[in-house]
Structures are given as C-alpha cells and as structure tokens.
Amino acid sequence: MSDSAHLERRYRRLLACYPRAFRYEHEQEILAVLMAGADEDQQRPRLGETANLIKHALRMRLGLSRGGIMINERTFPIRVDRPSRTLMTAFGASRKAPRVTMSPSIVDVRMGWAFHATIPREAVASARSLNRGELRGPFRLSVLRGVNYWRGTALVNGAGTGLVEITLNRSKWVWLGPLRAPMRRLIVSAEDQSGLVAALNPTTPHSPGSDDPSL
C-alpha cells in the first residue's frame, strides 16, 4: 500500500513536466493508467516509462506536439487600448497576447507576467457584461489600466471598455505578477464582450443589448 503511494507520488512528480492545461485535462487518467500498469511491488517509475513521459511533455512544451493545446479551446483576446499597450510593452507584460482561453474544463486568463489565473469551469458561477459606471471602490477611477486587485476582485483591464464580470462560486488563488492572491471576482476587458459572456454562460441565452460598444 505504501509502495503504491510512493510510486504514485513519483509519477505525479513526473507528470508535472507537462503543461498545466494538459495536466488539468489528463493527469488523473494518466496516473490511473500508470498505476494500473505497475507491478505490485514496484516503487519507482520504470526507466522507459519515465523517458517516454518526459519526451512527450517536452514536445508539448516546445510546441512540437499539439497536445499542449487544450481541446475545443476558444480564445478571447483581452481588449487593450493604445496607451495601455505602449505601457505594457514598456513593462514587458505584452510578450504574449493578453487573452482568455477556455476549454470545456478550464478558463485561463493571462496578461503577460502581470496576471495569470487558471479557473476550473465549474467554479464560474456567472458572467455578465459590466458597465464601467458599476465599478466600485478604487476601481471607480476610470484611468485604472493593467492589473488591479481589491478585496478578492481582480480587474484585468486593458481598455476600460468591453468589461466582463466573472463571479466564482469560491475563491481561487491567482497570480498577480509574482504574488498569489485569492480571487472571487474577475473583471476583464474583452475584445468580444458579448461573445465571452455567452461562452462563459453556455445555457443563458445571449441578450442582444449586452454588447453596446459605448460602454
């Protein structure tokens, strides 16, 4: 029993080589396969198995294999206006395009090094279009750009328009640059505001008035 627990922990450590999205989708399945294929008294991952896992994990990380890409994923660019883009470039936060990526199981929000959140899809309680006038507290300042955080709410804002409010049913730890913080609510400026809201609420019919570009 303790042998198998040891072995499982070692396999789990190996699987950490895989990209996060792939791990989220498949870690449990792969662990089950590895454990089912293990000998009764086996304590360590087999050499061939280990090499094979590392090889495929590397290929995914290097983009040589499409395995690192999430299945049926959809990407929604975060709206960034020109002054913010210039500023972000200056701070090196725009190396990768800021975006919200969604697969059937996770929602991944990234703005360069400044913000990164991986949220299980089932943790998303609701999503709606948000008027800038509805922002509360320090977020009221319409000049705020970039990543702001206040009492469990993160504002990932590149433009101040196209805002989408995503409410979670529990707190999730997210990255604010080098810091970790618990987040219950995320407000993000999306290029396709109504599209993002509709994708996050697949069952809610999309209301045509929600994508007013003047927001």
């Binding site: 498949h26 399945e29 792969i30 662990l31 396969v33 198995e49 094979n52 896992l53 090889k55 499409r66």
Partner: protein
C-alpha cells in the same frame, strides 16, 4: 498514419474504452508486439481528439479517480476504414507477388 495511431483507432472501433483498456487491447490485437506507453497514448489521444477523430464517450469515477472513455467519431471510423483498405491493398499485392515464388520453392 503511425502504427500507434492505427492501433488506437482499431481498439476503439470495437466500442468505447478508457486509457488502460486501450493499452491492453492494443497489446492483445497486436499479439504483444505493440506496447503503448502512457505518454505516447495520451499524446495520441489528445491529437486525435483535436482532429475530431475520437471523442469522450463518458466519464466515471473509479477509486476516486476520473476515468474517461473514448469512442470513434464517424470521421474517425472513415479514416480508419480508408487506412485499413490501403494496408489491405498493399498486403494483397505483396502476398500475390510472393505466392508464385513460394509455390515454386515447395
């Protein structure tokens, strides 16, 4: 098509299976010659799923762990049929050319 891919699709042609089921089935239908490793299997499953050749049939929790069953999509079935026909045609040519030769020897 790589042999591993062909064997995975063949395993799923009989019905939906989960990861370890595919590995044991592939081993059985290849008479032990093809032994898929977990890394190879899931890289292939991910690719096949992205290409919509297979899809998730259902999910179960076994021993508090998620078990996902995969099945062929119609497109996956067509591709496998085409590939099998191609292999069969090749094998047919090879065998028909070998027959007279072996016949003359015996």
């Amino acid at each position: 098509m790589q042999e591993a891919t062909f064997m995975i699709l063949t395993a799923l042609a009989a019905g939906s299976q989960h990861g370890y089921g595919i590995i044991t089935d592939v081993q059985a239908i290849s008479a032990g010659r093809v032994q898929l490793k977990a890394g190879t299997l899931y890289a292939a499953l991910e690719r096949l799923r992205a290409d919509k050749l297979i899809e998730v049939d259902r999910e179960e929790i076994v021993d508090s762990r998620l078990r996902r069953y995969y099945r062929l999509t119609p497109a996956g079935g067509e591709l496998l049929a085409a590939e099998a026909a191609r292999l069969q045609a090749n094998a047919g040519v090879a065998l028909s050319r070998l027959k007279p030769a072996t016949g003359s020897v015996t």
